[in-house]
Symmetry: C2
């Protein structure tokens, strides 16, 4: 016989999730986060990004080990394949964010998921990056995402989960809306 109250759904502690929402309603500053990264150029198109500390839930968190990521280009783009390139990392970020948004909001609704898979295609014309045409966009011209969801719900309910993921995903919305970015020289 199973426990009467299932508190863990899709690996998320739903009771803690709802308790956190109540805490934030009482003190919205709990929801203010600052995430950080560093980058060190190595050579050519190879550079290394790292992530460690962040601020959130009213305090600094320096408890994680440093996580480092090599970025590079394939040989056809003058690199040596030491890692994905930056626009591939952008798809990685988008994929994780849509997935977590979908899983979190499904869990809050009580939907049990068996599998969630997705694939991403991003079209880019590198004449923009290379400065060969002012008419060509520098950014991705289009990104297409395809989800497969294994769960005992209808296709309409799956499409509703996908809409929720789009509505709430910070990375998706960072790409759909303009983000205020300042880039400065440290003298």
């Amino acid at each position: 016989m199973e426990a009467v109250e299932t508190k863990i759904l899709n690996g998320l502690d739903v009771n803690t999730l709802f308790a956190t929402l109540d805490q934030i309603k009482a003190n919205p500053d709990i929801a203010r986060f600052q995430f950080r990264a560093k980058n060190k150029w190595i050579m050519g198109s190879n550079n290394r990004a790292s992530v460690k500390d962040f601020y959130g839930a009213l305090q600094e968190d320096d408890s994680r080990a440093i996580m480092s990521f090599d970025e590079d280009e394939p040989p056809v783009l003058l690199g040596e394949n030491k890692g994905p390139n930056p626009v591939e990392y952008l798809l990685i970020a988008l994929s994780g964010c849509l997935t977590t948004a979908l899983v979190t909001h499904a869990s809050a609704r009580g939907v049990e998921l068996r599998n969630v898979n997705s694939r991403y295609e991003g079209d880019i014309d590198l004449r923009g990056f290379l400065g060969l045409s002012e008419e060509v966009k520098k950014q991705y011209e289009a990104i297409r995402v395809y989800f497969t969801i294994d769960a005992d719900i209808t296709d309409e309910q799956k499409e509703d989960l996908i809409r929720e993921a789009q509505k709430y995903s910070p990375v998706y919305n960072s790409l759909k809306e303009s983000v205020n970015i300042s880039v400065n020289l440290d003298k």
Copy 2:
């Protein structure tokens, strides 16, 4: 005595770069790329993104080994620290792209770089993601970037390189401008 013609600058083969630009001018389709990623939900806020093949320079490239990346949240956001979170991967992507744009355009101008380092701060109010307020943005409210550049050039020239990086970086422009993204259910 050094070679009369230096063809490698900042680790980039500048002659090949200029030859590539000439090829693209003759056939713009060479510059059309499609990058791809896949994502598999693991459990809770942990999912795994992978990158391998891409299309570009008129052909499919399936030569790279699969590169996989775990994404997760810290415990304060109900995760288990199995990797950076998706908005941290977004900063990783931005950092690699600004750095490569800066290095590529500096190299094309003949500027020799010794070191390029940068750090990133992104502010986000998670009430947006959590659906607690319709007024709060879901995306990053602001991202601040700080570069240090070690090279025998003036601060004005360094600031000019930073402007070039912003002008040409695909990830920076994907965040500054709206990207067309479609998200679909594979039935």
